[in-house]
């Protein structure tokens, strides 16, 4: 995320596999059928080797589709992938609400030692505030082959949400 970053001081829950799937699908969606794996890795903040395994899984589940453009694979989200995203975000909203209702009086939880970011029950704050002020750089990529850059980006109409 957005599905939020996990980390020792992020105050956020660990990224589950479904969070990672959603992260990747949302980034792929932004390229309207022309997502290259390197670009997705920058967007998702994930190394290419790990991302490749995850994208293979999404392809086998029918959530992603790929085609060759200029000899390189480009990816797009399938209708089933979009359905997954819709369901994921809706469920995420419900779970956030249930968490709030389970702990109605709780404003700050977890450690509040000096210098640590408190964990807030405010669902937006909890997700955005720890992440946005400290934008993280994408991980380093393996050396890329140089040479002429094929034009892989193609704009096309998306299937609507």
């Amino acid at each position: 995320m957005t599905p939020e970053r996990s980390g020792p001081d992020s105050g956020a829950r660990r990224r589950e596999a479904t969070d990672l799937y959603a992260t990747v699908l949302e980034v792929v969606k932004r390229y309207h059928g022309g997502a290259r794996i390197t670009r997705v890795s920058y967007g998702a903040g994930m190394p290419v080797d790990r991302l490749r395994i995850l994208m293979d899984r999404l392809l086998s589940l029918g959530l992603l589709e790929s085609e060759e453009v200029d000899g390189r694979p480009v990816f797009d989200v399938t209708a089933r992938g979009q359905e997954f995203l819709d369901t994921y975000w809706k469920m995420n909203g419900y779970l956030t609400t249930l968490e709030l209702y389970d702990h109605p009086g709780e404003r700050v939880s977890g450690s509040s030692k000096r210098g640590e970011t408190p964990r807030r029950t405010d669902p937006i704050a909890r997700n955005v505030e720890p992440a946005l002020p400290a934008l993280r750089d994408p991980p380093p990529l393996p050396a890329m082959a140089t040479g002429p850059k094929p034009e892989t980006r193609r704009r096309r109409n998306r299937s609507g949400r």
Binding site: M1, T2, P3, E4, A22, T23, L25, E26, V27, V28, K29, R30, Y31, T38, R39, V40, Y42, G43, A44, G45, L85, D86, Y88, W89, K90, M91, N92, G93, Y94, T96, T97, P123, I124, N127, V128, A131, L132, L135, R136, D137, P138, L141, M144, T146, K149, R161
Partner: protein
Amino acid sequence: MSDAHVPRGSRVKLGVVEGDLRAERDSTIDADGTIRVTGTARFQGNVEVLGDLECNAWDSEDGRVRVRGSLTVADSVRTDSGELEVGGLFRARSVDVDRKLTLLGPAVTEDLEVGGILDGRSTLTATTVSVGGRLRLAGKIEARSVEAGGAVELADVSLDDLEVGGLVRIGGGEVRHKIDVGGKFRSDGPLTFGDFEVGGFAEFRDIGSGKSIDIGGVMTAAKDLTFDVLEVGGIGDIRGNGKGRDVHIGGRFSVGGSLQLTGALQVGGKASVQGSVQGESLEIGGKFEAERAVLSGKAEIGGVVATRAGLKAATIRLAHRSRASGPLIGGRVELERRAKVEDIYGDVIELDRECEARKVVGGAVHLREGAVVDEVVYTRTLSLEKGARVRNPQQVAALPPFPL
């Protein structure tokens, strides 16, 4: 034509370059006035440009290029597997950066595309902005469309469309056409918008005004909310006043002030309004609470009605085993089996089997088997089926004035 070459690890001073500039990694370029490159400026690896730079096109690869001053590119900026940081004003026709673009000053461009992160400390004016990962901008953004795959934090917006996969936090402003967010949305200041679609959670911390609002999970509005249609899959909460045409809530709905509608209020679970409710029709699956409610059409409640001043509608129907406190006022009022209510006022009133009411005031009153009413005041007919009981029936020439 005389191209300029800056060797690896060197430091040179440049002014006007009639041709292309090629700077190798770990080099530093000092500016003799403004560096003007008539051709393409090419960079490989980390390069520092200590001043303003103007060129026809920009092409960099790997590492990070920092331009400490302004950067003006007549045509396109392309950064492959690298980063770009601009300290001053940034102008370019189109921008395509793979990893990260940092803008310390204002930026003006047509098409801006970043694969990873766009971090801006000032304003951005563009036609389209597309970011694969995260977008943060401290100043105002003016654009036709902004889209991002991850998280977006914008201070002030003037956009046609905003489409984000993950999280959005905006200070306020205007999104004229559509806001489409997969995950969570929060606005801190006043926001006007066209259509609004959020998959998970939406929070308006200040007044919000838009057309169609469609939220999959949960919506909260800290102040007034104006809309055409409000549709929430789970829970909706407006702490100020709500004003619009229709409201459809799958779960729970609460309003801290009043709710003024011209159409329908449909809530699957509980609806609670501190002030008054006004609209055309009401359909509540569970409990309905309000100071008062006046509907021009029908009101159907599945569970409990609790009003202080009353519920008034052309037709009121209470479901099997429902309960009502506060008067029910209708043209036609129907209670299904075993409903228990206080006072009913209407032209035609029907109580199904084993219903109970304290007082019924109507033109024609019909009580089915086992229905029990303490007091009935009627003008035309009172019909009682077997086992129905009225302790105090009273036929009058004209009914007393109804509440509301």
